[in-house]
């Protein structure tokens, strides 16, 4: 394919979020700055006997508030419903008309795309477990598929099944916005929405679209998701104190806290944003992606892949590591991630490593898995806007090995010109996006 490299600058003109700390940008941001925790007992299903009994749920959310046509989206899964709320907010801010056949926003729908790092919808667990229970012959250790089918065919529901596919959140946003440009989705585990924003930025840069609705949506707070993470011993089991369970970079960190939500940014070419005369929130200046090629179970010990992705993003941005004012970490609160991420930051930022504030908002909103990167990127944009960086809460027992400035417990006022978002996916897919205060 021909290299159509253009000089298009890419800016953010709208943002929306539905997460455990709020159902819109401003209330979420206020909660983050106040150091609030969105973690509590799990209520979506009965997790009372699981090794972990808590999570960071989105509570009291009503997606019908965001659409004139809830009937059209009635079968949408949890992640898709979050995406609808976050997407509509972002479109409104960017002046993109939704739910109309005759948009008056001056945007060519063929030049508007979607790129989501979105997760699969939850399985119909009741049907799934019941069918297995009906069909399994414990003595023979084999499945009677006829018995299995009798239950599955009745209990599984067609639209629920269709809506489970990971491309469905993007499909709902396409219906809402009429986007006819490139529509993509990726699922690189915990790095998915950072990758979506990064790749979407590249699409605009090379002129494949003027606008891309980018971000992520995911919920893995369901019996099989939690079973999987619990068995991996990746989750915190601090059941007696859910609010302090997510404690990135602390010595006593014992795993991440499962969260859920959606976060969407409107990426737009600078020329389109100027033509439409919409406020510009920040500029996306760099993106880097790499793989560890190490083990599916562990990060590379030296943070090789992480270092490579950060380096690639810095090169892509055409800046020096000295220019970065703030790093929003992957910071999951697992022993492994936080120590390797710290190593990687030291390797890249050298003598400046301890001077740069690096924080993890997963301490407050938990880990949104596919949606995490975009949600965290949004806080980078807000840090630039308001001149204040979010804290890492629950930071009460520093790990002697980890000696960076993690912005402990209290948000900090400081000018931020350039902020970096790091995301590292399970299995070794690493993605980094750099945003900058917009200057003409």
């Amino acid at each position: 394919m021909v290299n159509n490299k253009t000089t298009e600058r890419v800016v953010i003109t709208g943002m929306g979020i539905v997460c455990p700390l709020g159902h819109d940008i401003e209330s979420t941001w206020q909660a983050v700055l106040a150091g609030k925790s969105g973690v509590d007992e799990t209520t979506i299903f009965d997790a009372s006997t699981f090794p972990t009994t808590f999570s960071a749920e989105v509570k009291g959310y009503d997606f019908t508030r965001f659409t004139k046509n809830p009937q059209l989206h009635k079968d949408a899964n949890r992640g898709s419903r979050f995406a609808i709320g976050a997407g509509v907010q972002a479109c409104r801010q960017a002046g993109i008309n939704v739910e109309t056949d005759n948009p008056a926003d001056g945007i060519d729908r063929r030049r508007m795309g979607i790129y989501l790092g979105a997760g699969e919808g939850a399985a119909n667990h009741e049907a799934f477990f019941s069918a297995i229970a009906a069909g399994w012959d414990s003595e023979k250790q084999q499945m009677d598929w006829v018995e299995w089918t009798d239950v599955a065919a009745v209990q599984m529901k067609a639209m629920h099944e269709l809506e489970q596919e990971a491309n469905m959140p993007a499909a709902h946003l396409a219906m809402l916005t009429g986007a006819r440009g490139p529509v993509r989705g990726c699922l690189t585990a915990c790095a998915a929405s950072t990758q979506a924003v990064g790749e979407a930025t590249m699409m605009i840069r090379r002129g494949d679209a003027d606008i891309i609705i980018a971000g992520g949506a995911h919920s893995m707070i369901h019996p099989l998701g939690q079973t999987g993470f619990n068995r991996l011993t990746a989750l915190s089991t601090r059941n007696d104190s859910p609010q302090t369970a997510s404690r990135p970079f602390s010595a006593s960190r014992d795993g991440f806290v499962l969260g859920e939500g959606a976060a969407i940014v409107i990426l737009e070419s600078l020329s389109s944003a100027k033509k439409r005369n919409v406020p510009i929130l920040a500029e996306v200046i760099g993106y880097g992606s790499s793989s560890d090629a190490f083990r599916v179970t562990d990060m590379h010990e030296d943070g090789r892949g992480a270092i490579q992705a950060i380096g690639a993003a810095i090169r892509d941005a055409g800046i020096s590591y000295k220019d970065v004012d703030y790093v929003n970490t992957h910071g999951t609160s697992t022993q492994e991630n936080d120590s390797i991420e710290t190593k990687a930051i030291k390797a890249v930022f050298k003598e400046r490593a301890k001077q740069i504030p690096v924080s993890s908002i997963k301490s407050m909103m938990g880990h949104l898995i596919g949606a995490a990167g975009a949600a965290e990127l949004i806080t980078c944009v807000l840090a630039i806007r308001d001149g204040i960086v979010p804290p890492t809460i629950n930071f009460n027992d520093p790990d002697p090995q980890l000696d960076l400035d993690y912005v402990p417990n209290v948000a900090r006022k400081m000018q931020v010109n350039i902020a970096m978002k790091e995301s590292f996916g399970f299995g070794g897919q690493n993605n980094v996006v750099i945003v900058k205060k917009y200057q003409d």
């Binding site: 394919m1 021909v2 159509n4 299903f45 009965d46 997790a47 009372s48 059209l72 795309g113 477990f129 297995i132 229970a133 399994w136 250790q141 598929w145 006829v146 299995w148 089918t149 599955a152 065919a153 599984m156 269709l162 489970q164 596919e165 990971a166 491309n167 469905m168 499909a171 219906m175 009429g178 986007a179 006819r180 529509v183 993509r184 990726c186 699922l187 690189t188 585990a189 790749e199 590249m202 019996p223 999987g228 068995r231 991996l232 011993t233 790499s290 793989s291 560890d292 090629a293 083990r295 599916v296 179970t297 090789r304 892949g305 490579q308 690639a312 399970f426 299995g427 070794g428 897919q429």
Partner: protein, 438 residues
């Protein structure tokens, strides 16, 4: 900035017609059908009892000795992808860590990977002992599961079912350290993964990329899903070969199957410098969306189909009259086939009646995330041999479809091939391949 051209230098396929690209092509040319009665589980009470199953294989044969233990962490989707990647890399002449650790001729950090994946369903039998342990009063009890059942789930269970693990395993096996992505756009995952990997090369982030897709659809949960959504045909349980009938008047639904397709994409300069055999050039991609309130089908006029094709042609800088072959999505679901045909006709304008259209799913079944990549390989083989095999099961064109479906094998020069796909949900994607010319 000069032009960066992206070429295909290696192909690998696992399909119901065989475990290699060569076997698949042979089967397609011979008009063989890979669809049979399901043997992976007893489908007696399924409304559709057919699938495109892949013959038995030993995964250990496709990974380096040092990686054999890690095959325990592979779901079938991952295995299929790993096998196709092994073939594609060997076919390309590249020597990665997996091929020969002593003679590696690639730079790991200059290699990228992008493997499309489906929604991987776990094997119900694998969780059955844990479920059996969680029964109280004859019913599944989530509290028992959380305490006792869960203990019987193997600790690394989740890692087998994360869609990104296809790319991760291949990346580890072949030591690919550059950009890595996992496209999860159902049946266009393969198309998009290949398009995006090419973009990674054109923007200079890598010289070589492994790209494609894989999915194991022959799983009771996934086949049941297709039955419930009514995409699977129910009329041909006694006639597997005649079951999937894209664009045919008697079409009644699709048939699903297992598969994987991986291609090696390479910066042309890199390929020329190392003297690689070049199959074809990827010269354009285009994407759009179908917007339909009844989103279990694509919109009746196929507008999203038309836009994706138009974009791909524009990027390729060619017009419909240049296209020699179209490999459509063609699933055998009548309503969607008709909409796709309309979309293609609108994009091809006066040329629609001329261009040979060759649907492959009648023989290969619908392999989900693998389908696009498998079609790309089929297109590459067709261009290489100057041959379009006859399509199967389109005996009488469905009313309203006005396409030139390939009835008899055609021997002809093929310079440009268009591969196309769409999803339920609406994503559409088109790729334009060109026979390689210097």
């Amino acid at each position: 900035m000069g032009r960066t051209r992206v070429v295909i230098t290696g192909i690998g396929v696992v399909s119901p017609l065989g475990l290699t690209a060569g076997k698949m092509w042979e089967g397609l040319c011979a008009g063989r059908c890979g669809i049979k009665k399901i043997s992976a589980f007893d489908p007696a009470k399924f409304s559709c009892q057919l699938a495109g199953e892949v013959e038995n294989y030993k995964i250990q044969q496709y990974v380096p000795r040092s990686f054999r233990k890690a095959t325990k962490l592979m779901s079938r989707d991952i295995e299929l992808a790993v096998i196709a990647a092994d073939e594609a890399v060997r076919d390309s002449g590249l020597i990665t860590r997996a091929i020969d650790e002593q003679k590696v001729n690639v730079k790991p950090e200059r290699m990228a990977i992008n493997v499309g994946a489906g929604l991987i369903s776990c094997d119900p039998c694998e969780l059955a002992p844990a479920v059996a342990k969680s029964i109280a009063d004859g019913k599944f009890d989530i509290r028992k599961w959380g305490k006792e059942g869960i203990e019987l789930v193997t600790p690394l269970w989740l890692l087998k079912y994360l869609p990104n693990m296809l790319a991760c395993h291949i990346g580890i096996i072949h030591d690919i350290q550059g950009p890595s992505n996992t496209i999860t756009c159902a049946e266009v995952s393969g198309h998009i993964a290949i398009a995006e990997a090419a973009e990674v090369i054109t923007r200079g982030n890598s010289d070589i990329a492994l790209a494609g897709g894989a999915e194991a659809k022959v799983n009771p949960v996934l086949i049941m899903r297709q039955c419930l959504i009514k995409r699977a045909t129910t009329r041909h349980n006694d006639d597997p070969e005649g079951a999937c009938r894209p664009f045919d008047a008697d079409a009644s639904g699709s048939v699903f199957g297992d598969g994987a397709g991986i291609v090696v994409l390479e910066n042309l300069d890199n390929a020329v410098t190392r003297g690689a055999r070049i199959y074809a050039e990827l010269i354009g991609s285009g994407q759009s969306a179908s917007i339909n309130p009844a989103y279990e089908h694509i919109e009746p006029d196929g507008c999203g189909v038309t836009i994706a094709i138009e974009k791909a042609l524009a990027q390729a800088n060619i017009s419909p009259k240049d296209i020699d072959l179209i490999i459509p999505h063609g699933t055998g679901v009548p309503q969607d086939d008709l909409a796709e045909a309309k979309g293609i006709e609108a994009a091809m304008d006066k040329e629609a009646g001329r261009i040979p259209v060759w649907p492959t799913k009648s023989m290969l079944s619908n392999t989900g995330a693998a389908a696009g990549a498998i079609d790309v390989v089929a297109g590459v083989c067709a261009m290489r041999d100057g041959l379009i095999p006859a399509a199967k099961n389109c005996e009488k064109m469905a009313p309203g479809c006005n396409l030139n479906i390939v009835k008899e094998t055609i021997k002809t020069d093929i310079r440009y091939t268009l591969c196309f796909g769409y999803t339920h949900g609406g994503q559409t994607a088109a790729l334009v391949l060109k026979r390689f010319e210097n």
